[in-house]
């Protein structure tokens, strides 16, 4: 058992190990944004009510605002910064641009990570089901139709869906 005010913590984000000295109150979201400097993951509500903070943990999408960084040692955390490989965008990123699945761009990393998580879960083919599966990500600019179109395009590109 460990009991300490400031904890030493090893966080593996996008394949890189980060050693942090951290107040246990720091959420996974704030660790990414304020401690590691990965500001691609956004804080919209900080209460699990908007989805802007969505990241993948061991491939599954979660809200990084509602959980503590100290609980995520020995996991693989993937953020929006990891999706593009150099100049080459992830197909979901490219599809979001093509279908204008965003306006201000603030919810966009969360939308894209959620969409990538959805693909891994086995994306439904029906628009209505995709919308339901993406309803944990609020877009106030309301680019919803473009988001659904982008996901449909990437889904259809995948051979086994």
């Amino acid at each position: 058992m460990v009991n300490s005010d400031n904890l030493n913590l090893l966080l593996k984000v996008n394949g890189t190990q980060h050693t942090l000295q951290i107040d246990p109150r720091v959420t996974l979201l704030d660790a990414l944004r304020e401690k590691i400097g990965l500001t691609g993951t956004k804080k919209g509500c900080d209460r699990g009510q908007c989805g802007a903070c969505t990241v993948l943990v061991d491939g599954r999408r979660i809200n990084s605002c509602l959980t503590l960084a100290v609980m995520y040692q020995e996991t693989e955390i993937t953020t929006i910064e990891e999706l593009a490989k150099g100049d080459e965008l992830h197909p979901m990123q490219a599809a979001f641009i093509k279908h204008d699945g965003f306006q201000c761009g603030y919810c966009t990393p969360g939308q894209i990570m959620s969409a990538v998580g959805l693909l891994a879960e086995g994306c439904p083919s029906d628009d209505a089901e995709i919308k339901e599966c993406m309803s944990g990500n609020i877009c106030r600019c309301s680019a919803y139709p473009g988001i659904v179109a982008a996901i449909q395009e990437v889904r259809q590109m995948q051979p086994n869906l």
Binding site: D23, R25, V26, D30, R33, E34, G37, L38, T39, G40, T41, K42, K43, G44, C45, D46, R47, Q49, C50, A52, T79, I80, E81, L83, A84, L89, Q93, A94, F96, I97, K98, D100, F102, Q103, C104, G105, Y106, C107, T108, P109, I112, A128, I130, K131, E132, M134, S135, G136, N137, I138, C139, R140, C141, S142, A143, Y144, P145, G146, I147, V148
Partner: protein
């Protein structure tokens, strides 16, 4: 080379936004940053008797706490409509008076966010509590009339509307109510303040960097030349990031006092108190008509809320003075001061909720007359602006009705309410008109061609997600005949050319005209150099014979006879060549200028459970020239969806006893989610409007929210026979 204007090209900042590289105001890396957390009042009326910061100050990592007891002097700014306006006429932390719940009463600064947040919670406050005024209906006796709000007419009369209404053969008289709403952009308001000597730089999520500079400087009592405001990306706004609110001056004074950069990011809950809202409204509409459906009288009047210390008017009568040809017209509004914050502009302020009332009433009239709702609107089509009696710069509303009706399949609608069913569900079809006045503000821009052929165009505007950066690059690229990728639009910095706030759907028209002018001017400069240069293939060629394309200037129909920009600049040993342009709106008002549209909606109502689902939306819009079909469509579609939220979901609820907002979060304040949204088909009517501005733009940011709300209410009436005049139309109202 193909022109890009009008084409659905991708956003120029798309890559930055989908990769997470775009930096918003709270994300700018700054050395030695400290975190500020605002402390807010838990009562809505009274004063602070005692505020104890001693425990908070001793909390680990705390740098300091500022309250009204020790805050430096700040100078209150007028609210709205003045240069450098604040969101509220209330400088923070200047005395102990509490006017509304959620008012800023202090700020805690610490070395980490967690420590600052905790310190803020440790500040103990004793209040002298007075009974707050919280309910507009109960306080209606305190209402006072408004003649004019800033430059907007409110009180108006044409003919004798009351007498004509009294003797009208067909009458509709109804009251419509709309609740308090909050903008809730996804990015919380953020500001980071950095002092260097007497100079202050703020990275602020603002819709108006120049207004922020002016207002902040005046509030701090320093020259505005000492203040620089930057806003590179802003995560949505919709009006609540226009005025100066408490967090920005608080970050500035904290950074000055503690001699290090201070960042303040509002919490979502604070965004329900510190940064304005759309006021609730209670609107009465009276329509008088002939049995043939010609309007003889229109009266639109009612009340909205303002704060105890400010006057803000939700100008909901505007559309009633604009939409229909009616010879007798009267509008009047009053405001009721309550212990709530000062309302502010929110997407189509006035027009959104006002059009809901007017277009619901028109639907009621159509039903009373047994007339098709489109036909009723056509019979009262305003060929000139009804209140001002001047012609339109352009108006294609008839075409909007026709196109949207056809695409929607309006002819399949059976008029009788409750007559269309799908199994146990009731199907309803409704329509409404949309209208938003065109705004044009002064703006300046600089266009610069570099020796390597790259182009930069600058204007200190903001990109709030509307596609500003993209269309400005397009306007420049087309003028200079270069690909969009060669053009960089630089914005979001008060060091750049002065631009207006991103409000009133006016940025494309205003900044676009400036950018267009600057690009044209720099092109002319290059052409002039070539014409006068014996070494140029264009030597002596008159300007009208010159064309630009493929990054070259050349003789029309003889593209071989010409040269590149680089060649001209190189021969003259120029690193770059540039030109600026100051665009001003025309002063004379010989035309009325509005964007118009029509929304058609199909709903599916569960008659037993009261749940409403939209099944499809079709809209047709005429907004002058569309600069980019993709981003314009997104704006209209996004506004439509915000209107869906207003129609069905959104309502800020205040506890009547305490004046505290009870649903100050996104779990209980229901923004539309993906599952709420049906297919939305938006069409544009091509319009060539030579009167509005040189680029023919009328604006598309807000018109899309105006018609949809009534269209939904009208469709619900058609489905159920229930006329809901009180927003939002939640399931309980349909049981």
């Amino acid at each position: 080379m193909n022109k890009t204007i009008g084409k659905p090209i991708n956003r120029v900042d798309g890559r930055l936004k989908v990769t997470g590289e775009a930096k918003y105001s709270g994300e700018i890396p700054l050395e030695n940053i400290a975190y500020g957390v605002i402390i807010t009042s838990t009562i809505a009326r009274g004063r602070i008797k005692h505020i104890n910061t001693s425990v908070a100050e001793k909390s680990p990592g705390v740098i300091g706490i500022i309250t009204h007891l020790d805050a430096p002097k700040l100078y209150a700014r007028p609210n709205f409509g003045h240069e450098g306006a604040a969101g509220e006429k209330l400088a923070p932390l200047q005395n102990s008076t509490i006017y509304y719940s959620g008012q800023a009463i202090g700020v805690a600064i610490a070395d980490t966010l967690e420590r600052a947040t905790y310190a803020a919670s440790l500040v103990k406050v004793d209040y002298v509590v007075e009974t707050p005024l919280t309910e507009m209906g109960k306080e209606r006796d305190r209402a006072y009339p408004i003649e004019k709000f800033v430059e907007f007419t409110v009180e108006f009369a044409l003919g004798d509307a009351d007498a004509e209404f009294a003797k009208a053969e067909v009458k509709i008289e109804a009251t419509y109510t709309t609740p308090t709403e909050h903008h809730n952009p996804m990015e919380p308001h953020a500001t980071a303040a950095v002092w260097e000597g007497e100079n202050l730089t703020v990275y602020d999520s603002t819709q108006y960097i120049f207004g922020m500079r002016e207002g902040l400087a005046k509030m701090l009592g320093i020259p505005h030349a000492n203040v620089r405001v930057l806003c590179k990306f802003i995560g949505g706004s919709f009006g609540c990031k226009y005025g100066l609110w408490a967090h920005t001056p608080l970050a500035a004074i904290a950074a000055r006092q503690f001699r290090r950069p201070v960042k303040i990011v509002l919490t979502r809950e604070q965004m329900f108190g510190l940064v304005g809202h759309r006021s609730e409204t209670e609107q009465q509409i009276k329509l008088g008509a002939t049995p043939e459906g010609r309007l003889t009288a229109l009266i639109h009047q009612g009340i909205s809320q303002t704060s105890i210390f400010d006057e803000f008017v939700e100008t909901f009568t505007t559309t009633s003075r604009t939409m229909y040809a009616v010879p007798n017209l009267r509008t009047a509004q009053s405001v009721v001061p309550l212990n709530k914050g000062t309302p502010t502009i929110m997407r189509a302020p006035g027009e959104s909720v006002g059009t809901f009332a007017l277009e619901s009433a028109m639907d009621e009239l159509a039903w009373a007359l047994k007339l098709d709702p489109i036909e009723l609107r056509l019979r009262n089509y305003a060929e000139v602006h009804p209140a001002r009696q001047v012609p339109w710069s352009s108006k294609s509303l008839k075409e909007c009705y026709a196109l949207a009706a056809e695409k929607f399949g309006w002819s399949r609608r059976t008029p009788e309410p409750g007559s269309m069913r799908d199994d146990r569900y009731l199907i309803g079809m409704g329509m409404a008109s949309a209208c938003f006045p065109m705004e044009h503000f002064p703006a300046s821009a600089i266009a610069r061609i570099f020796a390597d052929g790259s182009v930069v165009v600058q204007s200190g505007s903001q990109e709030i997600g509307t596609g500003t950066a993209t269309v400005m690059a397009q306007l420049t690229a087309d003028m200079l005949g270069v690909p969009v990728e060669k053009v960089r639009f630089e914005f979001g910095d008060t060091e750049l050319a002065r631009s207006p706030g991103t409000v009133g759907s006016g940025t494309a028209a205003s900044v676009g005209t400036a950018v267009h002018g600057a690009a044209k001017a720099v092109r002319a400069k290059v052409v002039a150099l070539a014409q006068k240069d014996p070494n140029s293939p264009l030597y002596g060629v008159p300007e009208p014979d010159i064309e630009t394309s493929q990054e070259r200037i050349f003789v029309k129909n003889n593209s071989a006879k010409g040269e590149t920009y680089q060649a001209v600049l190189a021969r003259h040993n120029l690193e770059y060549i540039d030109a600026n342009f100051d665009a001003k709106p025309e002063e004379e008002e010989e035309f009325a200028k509005c964007s118009f549209g029509a929304h058609f909606v199909e709903v599916r109502v569960d008659p037993e459970l009261g749940e409403v689902r939209l099944t499809r939306v079709v809209g047709a819009f005429a907004a002058g020239r569309i600069l980019n079909e993709k981003t314009a469509r997104s704006q209209i579609s996004g506004a439509t969806i915000m209107g869906i939220g207003m129609a069905l979901h959104e309502e800020t609820i205040t506890d009547p006893h305490t004046g505290r907002i009870v649903n100050d979060n996104l779990a209980e304040y229901h923004l539309p989610v993906n599952a709420d949204i049906p297919p939305i088909d938006i069409y544009f009517i091509d319009e060539v409007d030579t009167h509005v501005n040189p680029i023919g733009v009328k604006g598309a940011g807000e018109v899309g929210i105006t018609g949809i709300i009534a269209a939904i209410a009208n469709a619900i009436y058609h489905a159920t026979g229930k006329r809901i005049r009180d927003l939002p139309i939640t399931p309980d109202k349909l049981l």
